[in-house]
């Protein structure tokens, strides 16, 4: 790709095309709207990089030198003893599959770190969907209708923790700017008295909207219910009617009454019937039940199951949809054809992760068969390697794309949630397409509408980052950012290092403090200048025994906060990097949520970060390279992101 030879004297707004994901042919559009006038003075496009000598993680002594002159670019070597590996402590009696909260035992010196309102207030996001207060979990029934995107969600109107669940509702023109509407459904019938739980929408060819959802009955049985809009001429779909003869489905005799929930969007069979799936389990085998219907009122249980995988436990929030193997568009849920593959996705109750598999679907045999049985439903690929659960897609017919919503829970303690008065976010909606280059995974990418929030851009080109160094990017306050970056390791460095049998695993290999020959390197987000708190998002490359490079992409929360009651795991996974590809990433930073995407969305990691110091104007962004051998060259665009002002708009109807 051609690049203008960037120097300090660049013309403002010079556009450099970085590979940005599936839509590689689209130009990076400058953000529209009010923010066209940009201050030229500031960071802008000058390669104004100041270097900070890294000085140990508990804050600095007097040794920090800040260099401001461009001619004086010296990089300080970071002595390896400053990057202390994380002491994981003893987790007595805790099985590997235990909830991550149980391992939040990083108790550094027994310090009390009380949260104050300033720190807590900072945690609210600027452009991610969240209600004004209280608890939210699963996304429900997303759909596009009469010019509006509709979003429903599991909501507790009474507190910042799960319970008393009803359906919240919001609408948007662009999946980014949301208007809160009154609750769509509450627990006012015997068949959902104990919970109006997760469900999915199906839009029929005649324009009818069908909502199937799980209700927890007065007798604590999980059943499926039908609801539909009271008035289809109301584009805001404010009022909903529950079918008077609910429930339309009860647990079959061989299924526990507690293991029957989260009906999918329906798809048309070749017989002209509508088919849905509902996740469940038999002992510890996760299964997906199948039902057919003509009218969504009476259902026929189809013999067999869509898929079963032993030892995966209960399958929640099953999702099943086609993807095109040829085109970069989404497909209607009922699409079929030669150039179509199927995706089956489940949320595993057991480990709170979302897994998917690509495969083929045999309608007659009612069988989903994964392309790779070693990467089956629930044992193989995950949409996201961080905090990401109960996700659900819908087909957006207005833009011919498949869009993925996901619940992002908190990683802090409940007393902080109670104090701040809310808990949980939604991720930025992502488009999903088949990765034609690898043929074995999906690509996810934030919907393009999020780019409308981009304001001032800071560009850095071919920044050389020596082994063991940290580079402050002088962009100003760094709590709301959209970052696109590319990294290149010097070929000579790759050639000269030895091959190794090293197996790198983001979760267990010690994070960014653990130095290798060719990694880690990347960015430090939500970092304060003294580096007492920082969150590395990084690549780690290993040269394997056959000379091939294997790349991991990780998000390291182990030093993200001085607080002792937040989760400090390290998340991530390997990411396929094909011949000729540079290492590329995108990061959305929005206060306490960081969403990272590698290689155009092949591997994604969402994390929750709760700094106590690296907040407001103290939040900064650094480049870093903690490899021992590799010199890395980085080019980035960093945009400041506007707020989406989501909680400024509420529609209150007269009661």
């Amino acid at each position: 790709m051609d690049r203008t030879n960037n120097s300090n004297h660049d013309v403002p707004f010079t556009y450099v095309s970085l590979p940005i994901g599936p839509h590689e042919d689209e130009a990076l559009v400058e953000s529209r709207g009010k923010w066209k006038a940009r201050p030229v003075v500031f960071c802008g496009l000058l390669v104004l990089v100041s270097l900070v000598a890294f000085n140990g993680y508990k804050g600095s002594n007097g040794n920090i030198t800040t260099l401001t002159s461009n001619e004086d670019l010296k990089q300080k070597t970071i002595h390896s003893h400053k990057w202390k590996p994380v002491s994981r402590g003893v987790s007595a009696g805790v099985s590997e599959k235990s909830n991550r909260l149980f391992t939040k035992s990083n108790n550094i010196g027994g310090m009390l770190f009380p949260w104050n309102n300033t720190m807590l207030a900072w945690q609210r996001t600027a452009f991610h969907f969240q209600p004004e207060e209280n608890w939210m979990n699963d996304p429900n029934g997303p759909l596009y209708y009469k010019g509006w995107y509709h979003f429903f969600y599991q909501y507790n109107p009474n507190g910042a923790f799960w319970g008393d669940i009803v359906w919240g509702h919001a609408v948007s023109r662009d999946l980014i700017h949301w208007i809160h509407l009154p609750l769509a459904m509450v627990a006012d019938e015997w068949y959902d008295q104990n919970g109006v739980w997760t469900g999915s929408a199906t839009i029929l060819p005649n324009g009818d909207i069908i909502m199937l959802y799980t209700g927890a009955t007065d007798a604590l049985v999980q059943v499926q219910n039908l609801a539909y809009p009271a008035d289809l001429s109301d584009p805001l779909l404010i009022d909903w009617i529950k079918y008077p003869k609910n429930p339309v489905l009860v647990p079959p005799p061989e299924i526990e009454v507690y293991d029957f929930r989260d009906p999918t969007t329906a798809w048309l069979t070749s017989q002209g019937k509508w088919r849905i799936s509902i996740g469940s389990k038999m002992n510890k085998t996760g299964i997906a039940l199948v039902y057919d219907t003509k009218d969504f009122k009476t259902f026929e249980r189809i013999e067999g199951i869509l898929r079963a995988v032993p030892k995966t436990g209960m399958w929640e929030c099953v999702d099943f949809f086609p993807v095109s193997t040829k085109l970069d568009i989404g497909l209607d849920t009922s699409a079929r054809g030669d150039d179509v593959k199927y995706v089956m996705k489940v949320s595993l109750d057991d480990d709170r992760h979302d897994y998917y598999a690509l495969g083929t679907y045999d309608e007659n045999g009612v069988d989903f068969v994964p392309d790779d049985t070693n990467k089956d439903v629930g044992t193989g690929l995950r949409y996201d390697y961080g905090v990401f659960y109960a996700s659900k897609t819908f087909y957006d017919q207005s833009k011919e794309r498949r869009v993925l919503w996901s619940w992002i829970g908190e990683s802090d303690s409940e007393d902080a949630d109670v104090a701040k008065g809310w808990a949980s976010l939604m991720g930025i909606p992502r488009t999903i397409v088949f990765d034609k280059k690898t043929g074995s995974n999906l690509l996810q990418w934030p919907v393009e509408e999020v780019e409308r929030l981009r304001m001032k851009r800071c560009k850095f080109h071919n920044e050389k980052v020596m082994p063991g160094s940290v580079v402050l990017l002088n962009i100003g306050s760094a709590s709301q950012l959209d970052i696109e970056a590319e990294f290149n390791i010097d070929k000579k460095d790759i050639e000269k290092i030895k091959q190794t049998n090293e197996e790198y695993n983001c979760e267990t290999s010690g994070g960014a403090a653990n130095r290798g020959a060719l990694g880690p390197f990347g960015l430090l987000v939500l970092a304060d200048e003294g580096l007492s708190e920082y969150t590395p998002i990084y690549f780690y490359v290993v040269k394997g025994s056959n000379g091939n490079l294997k790349t991991s992409f990780c998000s390291d929360q182990s030093r993200s906060s001085l607080a002792t009651d937040v989760d400090k795991s390290i998340f991530g996974s390997t990411v396929p990097v094909l011949e000729g590809e540079k290492l590329s990433l995108r990061i959305l930073v929005d206060h306490s949520i960081v969403e990272s995407f590698a290689q155009g969305g092949r591997t994604c990691v969402t994390s929750r970060v709760y700094p106590t110091t690296a907040i407001y104007e103290n939040a900064q962004l650094f480049l870093f390279n903690n490899a021992t051998e590799a010199t890395v060259t980085a080019s980035l665009n960093v945009w400041h992101m506007n707020s989406a002002f989501i909680n400024d708009k509420q529609v209150k109807l007269k009661s």
Binding site: A92, G93, V94, S95, K97, S98, N99, L101, F102, K104, S105, N107, G110, M111, L112, P114, G159, A160, F161, W162, G163, D164, N194, G195, A216, L220, Q222, E256, V257, Y258, D259, G313, M314, D349, D350, R352, S413, E414, D415, D417, V418, A419, T564, D565
Partner: protein
């Protein structure tokens, strides 16, 4: 032919034994269940002790045992809260902040963790019960670690932590 009678009698005895033995392991109201479940918790002895203190335990299934433990958690939380209230009035100034923090920790347990765990178990969505129990461990630890010198609530925090850890381990069997 005369062999048949004793043989069939023998077969009858054997089969009856077999049935009786098998039935023993099928019944939910079985001490074995409590022992099996408690073996998978971090503190077997404490688990046995807590469960045996509830008359409903012998006839409870796993869900029922988890609910019993949530009740134990509630008792431990209330004991801690009472002690915090007693201490807050008369504490030395260097403990005041830590005690206020403890009040917040235990408030979260009582207002959020326990109701969430109870509802989750009753309604068949056990992961939220595991979350609630795990958080209670974090809250108890947070309270304990807040004291610069010696904590006046060590016994109460340990009890809270232990009961919560046992609860979380029992809930894991439902996932």
């Amino acid at each position: 032919m005369t062999m048949l009678k004793p043989i069939s009698f023998l077969i009858l005895i054997v089969c009856t034994n077999f049935v009786v033995i098998e039935c023993r392991t099928i019944q939910p109201n079985d001490e074995n269940l409590i022992q099996q479940i408690c073996k998978k918790t971090p503190n077997y002895a404490l688990c046995i002790q807590y469960l045996h203190s509830d008359p409903k335990a012998p006839s409870a299934d796993v869900r029922g045992l988890a609910l019993i433990m949530v009740n134990v958690m509630k008792n431990k939380a209330n004991i801690a809260i009472n002690k915090i209230h007693q201490l807050i009035g008369k504490s030395p100034p260097d403990q005041k902040e830590a005690l206020d923090n403890c009040a917040d920790n235990y408030n979260a347990i009582v207002v959020a963790d326990i109701p969430e765990a109870t509802e989750a178990l009753l309604k068949g969505n056990p992961k939220f019960a595991e979350d609630g129990a795990n958080d209670a461990v974090v809250e108890a630890r947070g309270c304990e670690n807040g004291f610069k010198g010696k904590s006046p609530l060590t016994a109460e925090n340990n009890a809270m932590r232990d009961a919560s850890a046992i609860t979380a381990a029992i809930v894991r069997n439902l996932l």
